[in-house]
């Protein structure tokens, strides 16, 4: 079930989600990381980062809030240890990169250039922009465009660059358009939604960082809507869909909305082998609907009713 993401071809369309798989090592205890389409690594920055104070997590209805603060070893240690481990275990790797200003994204990109272990860059632009009083890049058309343009110019031309967008904007298609114009090869949709919980015993915010990113099935309809809208406006750009995918039919919704691949994120915390289970369930679901290839299902729900053949037409995928 080959998945096609710009110039990158993956053996299947199920990936991990950034921040929900670390760098693959822990999940490899439960399944072979090479069996996935790719491992998407936790966003890496230039320097080692401590992350935020605890508490960093709060469970919410069908979801969770996290406020980790991108704790990580920095790009040099990541390349030496994590990326090398992923390559040695045959995993295809999408490296998620993050920065506080454009130069940091460029610096990380240059360090990854020429490294055969990297299959794609996913640019996490849901970070505060140090040069703009901490405003999140992904919430501003110009800042998003500037970072994506700079990464695209700095990256190895053969390496696909995907922009990971935030749903916390008025019109996500405007940000997507700006990133596309700046050279993005595709999109990862969506990052977490900003939320908060107040502990009614302490009567204070439950998270050390006050606010946190909401993930899990609670955000799935929002994520699906974003994939739908961006695919509608920019149908030629591949999308990795994510947000609360827990089973094969959840993944199928994203494919039908226009995603060419999916990432399984928060579900991993409850079920460490969720990515391989979702893959098997998605394959069965596509098969049951008569799709001979994944490509035939991508964006299928956008078709006009007369071109949508429905479950009783097994040749649905042929057209």
């Amino acid at each position: 079930m080959t998945a096609s993401l710009a110039t990158l071809s993956l053996p299947n369309p199920v990936l991990t989600a950034s921040g929900c798989a670390a760098a693959g090592r822990e999940l490899h205890q439960f399944f072979d990381v090479a069996a996935l389409g790719a491992v998407v690594t936790k966003s890496i920055m230039t320097r080692p980062r401590s992350g935020r104070a605890t508490p960093r997590m709060a469970e919410t209805p069908s979801g969770m809030l996290n406020s980790i603060g991108l704790q990580g070893p920095g790009i040099d240690s990541f390349i030496e240890n994590d990326l090398a481990w992923l390559a040695a275990h045959g995993a295809r790797t999408v490296v998620s990169i993050a920065g506080g200003h454009t130069d940091e994204y460029v610096e990380i990109t240059r360090k990854l250039n020429g490294n055969a272990a990297v299959s794609m860059l996913e640019v996490n632009i849901s970070c505060p922009n140090v040069e703009s009083r901490g405003q999140v890049f992904a919430c501003d058309v110009h800042a998003s465009s500037r970072v994506i343009g700079a990464v695209r110019r700095a990256a190895d031309p053969a390496l696909p660059v995907f922009a990971k967008l935030s749903p916390d904007v008025t019109d996500i298609t405007l940000i997507a358009r700006a990133c596309a114009d700046a050279g993005a090869d595709g999109f990862s949709l969506i990052n977490t939604l900003l939320g908060m919980v107040i502990d009614t015993d302490t009567m204070a915010p439950a998270l050390g960082g006050v606010t946190g990113g909401l993930s899990g099935p609670a955000i799935r309809p929002v994520a699906l809507r974003c994939v739908w809208q961006v695919h509608q406006k920019l149908p030629s750009y591949p999308i990795i869909g994510m947000g609360g995918i827990r089973c094969g039919l959840d993944a199928l919704q994203f494919i039908l909305a226009g995603a060419s691949a999916v990432s399984v994120g928060t579900a991993v915390f409850g079920d460490p082998s969720a990515p391989v289970r979702v893959l098997a369930e998605l394959e069965a679901a596509l098969d049951a609907r008569g799709f001979a290839s994944l490509a035939g299902a991508v964006g299928y729900a956008h078709r006009a009713p007369e071109h949508r053949l429905g479950p009783d037409a097994p040749q649905a995928a042929a057209s």
């Binding site: 929900c20 080692p48 401590s50 605890t54 969770m64 970070c127 899990g216 915390f269």
Partner: protein, 286 residues
């Protein structure tokens, strides 16, 4: 790593013990790799639950072979909706378990006198530890404490295992009126302890560490931190811990812990971000 497995485990028995409930479940893969200090992460709420995150419980015991082969035991207390769901389960139903998880208690290289200190149901992982220490020829003293008598756990099992146990309660409703640390110095001197092991609430672990330090011995303590995944992926359960190189980092209590050398944990900084932590300087605007 602890070579964890994910298993659908049938509940063999559910038994009330004071304010707690003891689960015995059939999980041969978890039982096979068990060492004292390991924990399990248990799914709650059933297949379509809105509670996505597993609940972590220290293992009270495991029986890899013989009668009841392949069973493990853990203790549950009612905290919130997830544990309340667990407490409504009965024998014959199944649970989704991941384990064994974490880094177990380090064992002395030879026979070494030890004092074990349990607070509330934190006594649970100390019972298999006591058995392992006794089997290695180490003299063991045990202190079991709680706020009140009904919150004690394991005092009878401890007495049967070791021969004697010192009980403390904050309100004096059982045993010595006071805290575990009030009787710890005598216990350390009595057995000429070379190491203290403890499991219980954070303030108790910190206090146990302080007493051990005044006696120039180490305290190995198992912490309870809120976890999302239990397997080292999510980075939510971190504590500030000083490393061999003298530098402090946020370490995951699910993988690098739950057992830490009490002297290495920066107790006063739990819940904050100390400036000298590795990578704290990179946290501007975050």
């Amino acid at each position: 790593m602890s070579n964890p497995v994910q298993e659908t485990a049938e509940i063999f028995a559910v038994a009330r013990v004071g304010e707690y409930v003891q689960f015995t479940v059939v999980a041969p893969g978890v039982a096979a790799g068990f060492l004292p200090g390991h924990f399990v992460a248990v799914g709650v709420g059933g297949e379509n639950t809105s509670m996505l995150l597993r609940r972590a419980f220290a293992l009270y015991g495991a029986t890899p072979s013989g009668q009841f082969a392949g069973t493990v035991q853990f203790i549950v207390a009612a905290h919130g909706p997830g544990t309340r769901w667990l407490l409504q389960r009965s024998a014959g139903e199944t649970l989704d378990l991941v384990g064994p998880l974490g880094t177990p208690f380090p064992m002395p290289s030879g026979p070494a006198p030890a004092v074990l200190v349990g607070g509330g149901y934190g006594t649970a992982p100390l019972i298999p530890l006591a058995n392992a220490l006794l089997a290695a020829g180490s003299p063991v003293e045990m202190i079991v404490g709680a706020s009140t008598a009904s919150r004690l756990f394991g005092e009878l099992v401890a007495k049967r295992t070791i021969g004697a146990v010192t009980v403390t309660t904050d309100d004096g409703s059982a045993g010595v009126h006071g805290r575990v640390t009030d009787v710890l110095p005598d216990a350390i001197r009595g057995v000429n302890a070379e190491v203290v092991y403890a499991c219980g609430p954070m303030p108790m672990l910190r206090a146990v560490g302080d007493v051990a330090r005044t006696h120039a011995i180490h305290a190995q303590v198992a912490v309870e931190e809120a976890m999302a995944c239990g397997i080292g992926v999510c980075m939510t359960c971190v504590l500030p811990v000083r490393g061999d190189d003298g530098a402090s980092r946020f370490l995951r209590s699910c993988v690098e812990g739950p057992v830490f050398d009490a002297d290495r944990v920066r107790w006063a900084d739990v819940g904050s971000l100390p400036d000298d932590l590795v990578g704290a300087d990179a946290m501007a605007w975050h």
